[in-house]
Amino acid sequence: MSRYNRHIILSEIGQIGQDKISKAKVLVIGAGGLGCPVLQYLAAAGIGTLGIMDFDVVSESNLQRQVLFGTSTLSVNKALAAKKRLEDLNNTITINAYPKRLTSRNALEIFKNYDIIVDGTDNFETRYLVNDASILTNKPLVYGGIYKFEGQLSVFNYNNGPSYRCLFPSPPEAGTIPNCSEIGVLGVLPGIIGTMQANEVIKIILELGNVLSGRVLYYNALSSEMTSIKINKSETEIQKVINNKPFFNSKEEEIKCTVTIPEISIEEVFKNNNLQFIDVREMEEQPKVTSINPLYLPLSEFENNLDKIDLEKTKVIFCQAGIRSKSAVSILQKYRINNSYSIKEGALEIIEYIKKNGK
């Protein structure tokens, strides 16, 4: 087959190596900025079985970096849209699409059918879930994360090596570290980091070179610098995950039992009177929504400034994408400050709504 000729003529790979690639089963969680390049190169390389998991649909703002999609797949589920595109790229491999959310209920069952897991998710809750499920099913995890112009990369749970929890033992407090939809990202950055993830997957399969295990790599797209930091394995952190296995499936229950955050849409907001708008974005974030005269209380200092809030008014909180505003409402709930709502939409949508409809 001439499809893989350029691999086969490499003495380091050869037909034997290509056969290993054809037998490999790789599951990619998240078909977004990172997932797209990972999937593209793994499908092209001829990975025998590729799993794609994503519950989300393609939106126009994804197209700046999520290179498997186009205008014809807007509003289509990402796992299904990616499968369709990749089947055209390589019709000799098996592609399984999972158009649903990864949960602690389905993770172990799905992971056990694959050899290698790739993390292309965009939030800490799912990243820790992916890590823990990889430990419990004993699968190597190829991890990538991005922030504006910087990326990080590592391989966890590989040959008894460290896990994500050995690097960062527990998730940061909700809302303290924004994701791409909130703060923006250079489109080419996930392309670079995702392609490096695909490279680590191939190295694991071929047992070639030095797999990036026991190290985390930081890449800065603006300075073009890379920094590699050694990580040691923490038996305690890994043992905690293993000890929790019996409770793994019930984790979701815990999340569901926590208090729900009252949310409100822009349209509903303006049906009310006596409102106090609060912008919880950091001061440098744009655009400002000056027409509603908000109180500026960045989430990083929110808890120390609760005295500035007018308790008599209905508190309506917003941010860039409706995520940090929920964290702010949960802080208010902690202090029993009621009558507080998180706007579902972000600042940009609020400005557009006001432009179109007035207040």
């Binding site: 993390d119 994360g145 910087e150 994701n179 930091i229 050694k230 990083s300």
Partner: protein, 77 residues
């Protein structure tokens, strides 16, 4: 002791530099954390790990070299 500290991601936005020389007289990584929080109060709200000489270290590690890096987690994908 003069330390050379590198900051990544959001941390570099708080310190407004990706690298700086930092005069420090403490012993341990935990002392360094406190000294950094004094200079940059906003760092105290952030989750990050510290590496010394390109190796991740814990708070009770003694500082023996001048090469330090502050490493935050990244959520985005």
């Amino acid at each position: 002791m003069k330390l050379a500290i590198k900051y990544f991601g959001q941390l570099a936005e708080i310190t407004e530099c990706s690298e700086e020389e930092f005069e420090f007289s403490g012993m341990k990584i935990s002392d360094l954390r406190e000294a950094l929080f004094l200079k940059y109060s906003k760092l105290s709200n952030k989750d990050f790990q510290i590496a010394q000489n390109q190796v991740l270290v814990s708070d009770d590690t003694e500082i023996t070299t001048n090469e330090i890096a502050l490493l935050p987690p990244f959520a985005g994908g």
